[in-house]
Structures are given as C-alpha cells and as structure tokens.
C-alpha cells in the first residue's frame, strides 16, 4: 500500500540531512504512528510522502502509484493530508469540506460532490454545523472538519500531522477513536505523527520510531518497549496495563529512576 525506499531529504543551503535513507512499508487498514523527538523529521517525512516537499532521493510507492512522478491532482486522489496547524478558515463547514472534492472538480462541484460531502458530514456528526463558519467551532469540531475534508477526498492513505496536539483530553480520544474506526471500516491506511505515547500505544497498531533522521525501529506492538523508548526519547519509562488499557508511565528524573530500580530489584 505504502512503500518507502531510501528516502532522504535536506533543506537547501545547509546540507544537513533531515531524513537519512528512510525505508519502511505499511499495509491498508493500519493505523500507524510516527514517533520521535521534536525536530527529528516526522513532519518532514509526512510531507515527503505527499510530495508537499520533494525528497532529494529515494522512491515512494503509494496505492500502486509512483508518488514522485505523478501529477499533484492524481496524487490527491490517493493521499489526503491534514496539516498540523490548519489555517483557521471562516468558510462554512460545508464549503470547507467541499474543498476536499477539489481533485475531482473540473469547473464547478457536481451533484455527486455535494452528496458525498453531505454523507461525510452525516457520518462524522457534523450535520448540525453544516452552515456555520469553521472559525466559530471548538478545536475538536474544527479538527473533525479537516478530517472530513480529507475523507471526502476518498483517499487510500490518510496522513495526519499531530491531529490531537491542540485538543483537550476528551477530544483527543474522540479523534483517535474516530480515525481508528475509519482505518478499520474503510481499509484506509492512516499514518499519524504523534507526541503522546499513550495515545499511540492505545489506538495505533504500527509504530515507526525515528531518531537522527533515520528509522530507529518499526513494527507492531513488539517494538513498543521501554528500551526502544529510552533510546529514542532519552527517558526512562515503564509500560503497564490498567483495566486492559496499555499505559506508558514516564520517569524523566534520574533520581526517581534510581528509586524505581531499587524497588524493582
């Protein structure tokens, strides 16, 4: 579904490699998390996959298409992207979602386009807001609108850049649940940059850890270990379970760390 081979990227001028020979592949229906420290290139990787920035080398095959050689419009029919800080638009919700039909629109939107927008709004419980300006919605609802816009694009792959970063806890879980349902029900591959390890371990099923512009580890639940997390985040953690929910408890202070080690021993 998504196959990334030896992708490298550096910003012009300084020669510093933000992405250094990144390779991994993901299947349909997965909900994958890209994890790692600030500045490690997670967002850049996401942008490379959607050709928002063009990698210096490597190849990306998405939905059977060679991403780097097809047109932006063609790519938009396979991959949808939700930016981290979507610009606050004052457009009505319906219009903001209709924008997702852009790759299919020639001169103006068709009846089919309107119907599809209507369906998505219904599915995400946004119908009552249809004619309200997006800028008047709460953060959670606004994020749902951007996800609706991405879904109405009918993508095979959905890229989300920190979809929960500006949301309150309740909305974080609602959005993650929603996205997981979408991935499972529609067989869409969702690739998501996340900072919250607990959200990642709870909702995602594939994990890509990045360190120094490289993939440090990738795989299923088996790579979510305290050892790997410590290497990637330079922070000691303990993974446990609470009422059937996997929980990652961080111990950033060394003193506490020693204390824990004592106790464990």
């Amino acid at each position: 579904m998504l196959e990334i081979r030896d992708v490298s990227f550096s910003y012009k001028g300084n020669g510093y490699k933000v992405l250094d020979d990144i390779s991994f592949s993901l299947e349909s229906g997965c909900f994958a998390a890209i994890l790692g420290n600030n500045g490690v290139g997670k967002s850049t990787l996401l942008k490379c996959i959607d050709k928002i920035v063009r990698p210096d080398s490597g190849s990306i095959i998405a939905d059977g298409k060679d991403v780097l050689s097809i047109s932006g419009k063609e790519l938009a029919k396979s991959i949808a992207y939700v930016a981290q800080d979507a610009r606050k638009t004052d457009a009505a919700v319906f219009d903001a979602v209709l924008l997702g039909r852009k790759p299919y629109i020639k001169w103006d939107a068709s009846e089919d386009d309107y119907a599809k927008v209507n369906d998505i709004l219904d599915k995400l419980d946004l119908t009552e807001y249809a004619l309200r300006s997006v800028s008047t919605l709460s953060g959670g609802e606004a994020q749902k609108v951007t996800i609706a816009r991405a879904l109405v694009q009918e993508p095979k792959i959905l890229l989300l850049d920190e979809p929960t970063s500006s949301l309150d806890p309740r909305n974080q879980h609602d959005i993650m649940k929603l996205v997981r349902t979408i991935a499972k029900e529609q067989g869409i591959l969702v690739v998501c940059v996340l900072h919250d390890l607990n959200l990642a371990i709870r909702y995602c099923d594939r994990y890509i850890f990045m360190k120094d512009g490289k993939v440090y580890a990738s795989g299923g639940r088996e790579v979510m270990t305290p050892e790997i997390i410590e290497e990637v985040y330079n922070m000691h953690t303990h993974i446990t379970e609470c009422m059937g929910v996997p929980v990652i408890v961080p111990f950033p202070e060394e003193a506490v760390e020693h204390h824990i080690h004592e106790e464990v021993r």
Binding site: Y11, I79, R87, T89, A115
Partner: protein, 358 residues
Amino acid sequence: MKYDNINLEKYRKYAMRKRLFLIFLFIFTVFTALVYMGIGTMKISLAEIVKVLAGNGERKYTTAIMNIRLPRAVAAILIGAVLAASGAVMQCVLHNPLASSSTLGVSQGAAFGAALGIIVFGGGVMTNANSTAGVSVNNPYIVTICAFVFGSVSTLIVIGISQLRKNTGPAGLILAGTALSAMFSGGSTLLQYFADDTSLGAVVFWTFGNLGNAGWKDLRFIAAIALASMIYFMFNAWNYNAMDAGYDTAKSLGVNTRKLMLVSMTVCSLSAAASVSFVGIIGFVGLIAPHVVRFVTGNDHRFLIPGSAMAGSMLLLLADILAKITVPPVILPIGALMSFIGGPVFLILLFRGDKRDA
C-alpha cells in the same frame, strides 16, 4: 435519508443567497453607472440616458455621453473591477489582508514611471486643454508606457527575488514590496526636486488620478486586459479556495501553489499597472472592495472575485460622483478623494472585522 436532503437543501439556499447578492451587486452597479452619466454641469435625466444608449437620443446629449461620460463610466467600471479583483487575489495568495496593488508598490512604481516620463523623457509639455483641470499632459503615451513599465517592475522584481531565493515566504514578498515602494517614492521625490515648475505640476497632477484621461482606444486595451485577467482569476477560483486553507493543504489537494502564486501575482500586477498607467494613482479600491464583499461571500473565491470586481466598479463610480458634486463645477481628483475617504472606511472595516473575529 430525508434529513440529508433537508441539509443539502439548506446549503443550496445558502449558496443561492450569495448568488443573489452578486445579481443585486450587478443591478446596482448598472444603475449607479446610469445615474453617474447624468451628473455634471449638464444634467441629463435617466430616461434621456437610456435613449442615448439605445441610439436615438438628442444630439447634444449623445455627444456628451458618447464622448465624455460613457468612456469615463467605462473607465471607472473596468479599472475598479481590475484593481478590486486583483486585490482579492493578492490577499488570498499572499495570505495577507493588506495586500493590494497600492500596498505592493504598483502605484508607487507607476508614479515614479510617470514622473520619469514627464520630467526626463519630455512628456511634460503643458497645454490648457481642459478648463476645469487647468493643466494636462501632452504626449501622454510616453507617460503611460513609463508608468506601466515601472508599475509592473516593482512586483516583478519582488517575484524575481522570490524565484532566486526559493524559501522566500509571503511575508518576505510583502516586505520586499514595501521596500521597493519606499525606493520608488524616494525616486519620484528626487526627480521632482530637479524638475521645472511646469513638469512638476504635470507630475503632481498625474498622481491625483483622473478617469477622464482614458479615451475609447485606451479603454479597449484596458477592457482586453480586464477580461483576460478575470478569466484567469475565475478559472482558478477553486485553487484560491484551496490556497486559503493553507499552502500545505493546497499542495495536498493537488494545487501547484508556487506556480499559482507567481502567475497570479504577475497577472495582478500587470493588469493593475496597465489600468493605473492610464488614469493615475487610484488606491484603496483593491483593499476596500474585497473586504466589503467578504462580509457576505466569505472567502469563497467563486463569489468573492466577481463580487469584488463589481464592488470595485461601483466604488469608483460612487467616488467619481462625489468628486463631481462636492464643489461643482470643479471635479476633484479621484485618486486623492478615494484615498481620503478610503482610509477611514478601511479603518471602520478593520475594527468591525476584529470584533467579528473575537
């Protein structure tokens, strides 16, 4: 399912309201143009104007309208439309509500070009052709060409810089435009410092702005430019909507944002420079018209672009009516009047807009 249909129906009504607004604007603009042609030292009734336009009016009215008032009205309509639509597009592609041809150096460049044409290339032989204006510029084409060249040059330099340094963002473009505006203003002042009295008078008079400067031949040229740029803008209305959601989002929707920005900026500055070079500096239309229309259409460029164009036309017509009736028989300079009224109007819009956002 029934619920769905009600929802779609609601959206259709909502879109219809915007369409009705455009139709209303159109009717009102035509009406304003008709009223406009009746105003002046010779009062002409609406009925008479319609007769003249239909081709069977009285001779003296026909002469006045076909030779003076209609071209002036057409100039106001075309130039208002070009300046306002290009303002709306610049504001969109640069993500900056203050972008317009007058804030990005087109006006200042054109003024410098006109000064250069009058003072250096001798387009400044004065004649007493017009009793109300007192002075006018002889050999206007040198002045027009210089104004056009320098009006476009400032934005083209800005675009050139952004091409050389690929990571120049929209804020960089705006700042570069401001820097070039300052340079051209300084250049104009320096030229004026060395000019003799008659040339100086001509330069100052040119910068006042005068819709009467454009004859039928000029108008045909402006009309062709206006039509071409409007077609380009409307063809890209969906792309502008995507741009409005953010550059990365637009790219992910398949829009070539860089190309769209560069071509749009070029089209905007060339068409604005072409209009301005015939009639002198007319500022603020490109700022005010889109902001007023946005109150109704929002940032949906399918409606915002044609709406801004019509609002721009109407704004210039109204401003020129004001210019004619304030101290008759003197016709006040439209450019100066537009800025004088436009400034406060823009302030009101700005603070009302702020309240709405909060």
